[in-house]
Structure formats: C-alpha cells, structure tokens
C-alpha cells in the first residue's frame, strides 16, 4: 500500500514536468508533435528507470557519507559528477546497443537518446531520490513513477500544442509565448494536488515509533 501510494504520488502529485518543472527544455523543443513526444517519453521512461537504479547504487555504495567510512573518506562532494557520468555513459551505451541489435526500436527511440543525457528530469530524479534516502524498492517505484508522469505530461502537452497550431493567438505571442501560458494553466491544474501525501508509511511498527517520539517530546 505504501509503494502504491508512492507510485501515485510520483506520477500525479509530484509530477516532474508540471509541479517540479524539470525537463522543461526538452519538453519545449520536442512537444510540437504527438508522435515525437511519445517516442521521447518512452526513451525517458527507459533511461530514467535504469539510471535511477544505477545512481541509487552509486549513492548507496560510494557517495553517501557512511558508505566508505571504513576507509575514512567521505566522497559526497563527488555525487554530481558521478551521477551525470553514469547517466551520460548509460545513454551512450544504450544508443550503441539499440542501434546494433534492434534497428526498428532505434528508429522510434534511439534518436532521442543523446538528447536525454542533458535532460534535467533524469538528473533531478536521481538527486531527489538521493536526498530522500529511499531504500531500494521504494526508489525503483519512485523513479519509475516519475518517468511515467513525465511521459504522461509531455503527451498531454503535445496533444494540446497540435491543436494550438491551428489557433490564432495575438501577434508576437504565437509559438513559444502561447505555449508558456498553456503550460502555466495546466500546471495550475496540477497544483490542485499539492498538499496531498499518499506516501505515508502504513507499517504499524513505524507508526508506533512516531507515537513514542511524540510522547517523549511532550
């Protein structure tokens, strides 16, 4: 139940594109056609989930302050560098593998892979997950849910932008300007979710701990 709550939370309530505003540049560049947006979204789901898991291991075994304490070093300052290297290396390897082995997939997905290395949503997901210190399974659910949310959001916007290209906005506002206003209105809609918290732990032992803590504070 906790994992399901976390999943819904990361898809809708903390939607990466619409309430954290990550991955905006890629979104603005690639959302004028639904087909492109869909391919890009799929590629993001793939890369974000795998690199989220890889970066979890990097954080857990190398850069968290306790990880290498037996050597007497704290490598937490290297976190940014290692995260981005993992992401960039992974996208490059994935591109090569997909290009050689699955050509039909390459046409729909591989074209976007180099773009994704510099998508802030991917790095953002890893950084958010690292600051929250999630265990392995919740981390997997969190990054997968976030990537699905990103896919959902970009498809939603691309569908509207396709219709928007036939409309007649004021002079000078067409193109980017009207897209910004439209994105703002949709994200206002998603703001309606804020304050909800579904990712509460339902385990009894943890609830008991919280109650005990409160008693001690009193």
């Amino acid at each position: 139940m906790y994992l399901f709550g976390l999943f819904i939370q990361s898809v809708f309530i903390e939607n990466f594109l619409l309430s954290n505003f990550l991955g905006m540049c890629t979104y603005l560049a690639c959302s004028s056609k639904l087909k492109t947006a869909n391919g890009l979204g799929l590629a993001v789901v793939f890369v974000m989930t795998v690199s989220g898991v890889l970066n979890w291991s990097v954080h857990h075994f190398i850069t968290s302050p306790e990880a290498l304490s037996f050597l007497g070093v704290d490598l937490s300052f290297l976190e940014f560098l290692l995260f981005i290297c993992v992401i960039a290396a992974f996208t490059q390897i994935a591109e090569i593998v997909i290009d050689n082995k699955f050509f039909s997939l390459y046409r729909s997905l591989g074209l976007y892979l180099p773009l994704i290395a510099v998508n802030c949503a991917i790095l953002g997901a890893s950084l958010f997950a690292a600051t929250r210190e999630l265990p392995f399974l919740p981390n997997l659910v969190y990054v997968f849910g976030s990537s699905l949310g990103w896919w959902l959001a970009i498809c939603l916007m691309a569908a509207i932008r396709e219709k928007l290209s036939y409309s007649n906005p004021p002079q000078g506002l067409e193109g980017m300007g009207i897209t910004f206003i439209m994105t703002g209105i949709i994200s206002l809609g998603f703001m309606g979710f804020t304050g909800m918290n579904l990712a509460k732990s339902t385990k009894k032992s943890e609830q008991v701990k919280v109650v005990e803590k409160k008693k001690i504070q009193k």
Partner: protein, 204 residues
C-alpha cells in the same frame, strides 16, 4: 561583439528558450534568483573557457560526456562554496544547484560556441549568456517577490498599513498566484511577448 549580443539580442531564456527549468524553481525571492544567476555566470564562463582550451583534444564521439564532466566540476565548486559560506541559501536551492549541470544554457554555449572558438571569446560569450540569464531571473524574481510578499531582498516595500485587515477588508492584498511556480510561466510568456513585439516593430 558577442558579449553584448548574448546579453540582449540573443538572450538565452527569452530568445533561444533555454534554461527554463531553474527559471521557474528558484525565482520566488529576488536574492535566491540572484544567487542562482551568479552561479550560472560562473559555471558558463569557466566551463566555456576550459572546453575551448581543450577543444582540439576532445574526441568527437565522447564529446558530450567530456563537456558534462567539465561542467559538473564547476558546479561542484559552486555547491561546496555555497555550503561552506551560505548554508541556509544552499538549503533553499537544494537540488537546483546540481541541476545547473543539465541546464541547457551551459551545454548550449559549449556546443554552439566554445567548441569552435578560441578561449577568450568563449569565456566572454559564456559570461554574457550567463548574465543575460541572470537578468531575466532577477526580473522574474523581483516581480514575484514584490507582488507575492510585498518585499524586495526581504525588506518591506509595500507598507503594512496598506494591507487589508479584519476592519478594512477592501484594501491591498498579496497576489497568491505569485508565490506558486506557474506564475513564472505567465511572467516569462509576457516577457517573451514583449521582446517579440519589440523586434517586430524595429524590423518594421
């Protein structure tokens, strides 16, 4: 000269539409926006300089990962500096400092300019692009803080006596829209609109 062009005519946010993510996340208050702007100026300037110095030695196939490594080096410097001297500010900025690495603006300058040009023009181009970004961030941050909180840099601008109270409910109120992120979209859209109109008028 490239520097001035980057500041106004080719402003990276308003004309090239790059680096939007952080423009929305960090502009609730003016001083936060300015810190972010200064960090970006530092990172774009020096990463452009070093990428341009190494431009003949970076193989084309691993270009992106090398550029990202250089950029993240400077981001780490900024992050450590903020943590050491401005801890509360660095808590507010949290992951947004790290996200400068993937700010398309930095990468865009590296790819479009620094990789084909000598060091000094690249450095100036990077600083110019960063400053253009900082100016837009400051405008958005200023508008949002002034109308959202009635303050600038944390000092009160709109006097408290103007505000609506229980006795006088018909007086001034803060605009609630301004301290949630979507307002940045609307402000940016208006700025882009203004810039486009200005260009149209000048071109006739």
């Amino acid at each position: 000269m490239g520097f001035k062009e980057q500041l106004f005519e080719k402003n990276q946010i308003l004309v090239a539409i790059l680096g939007i993510c952080s423009a929305l996340g960090v502009t609730t208050r003016l001083h936060i926006a300015l810190t972010m702007g200064a960090s970006v100026v530092f990172v774009t300037g020096f990463s452009s300089l070093f990428i341009s110095l190494l431009r003949r030695h970076i193989p084309d196939s691993v270009r992106i990962i090398t550029e990202l490594t250089i950029i993240s080096l400077f981001v780490i410097i900024v992050d450590q500096f903020l943590k050491a001297y401005f801890l509360p500010l660095s808590k507010v900025l949290s992951v947004f400092v790290g996200l400068i690495i993937t700010n398309c603006l930095v990468m865009g300058r590296a790819e479009a300019f620094a990789k084909n040009n000598p060091p000094l023009p690249s450095f100036l181009d990077g600083v110019g692009a960063g400053l253009g970004y900082a100016i837009v961030l400051a405008i958005v941050g200023g508008i949002r803080e002034l109308f959202g909180f009635g303050e600038l840099f944390g000092y009160r601008i709109i006097p408290l006596s103007w505000y609506a109270t229980a006795d006088h409910p018909d007086l001034y109120r803060n605009i609630g829209l301004m301290y949630i992120p979507p307002s940045a979209f609307f402000i940016l859209a208006m700025l882009i609109w203004g810039v486009n109109r200005y260009k149209m008028k000048r071109e006739g």
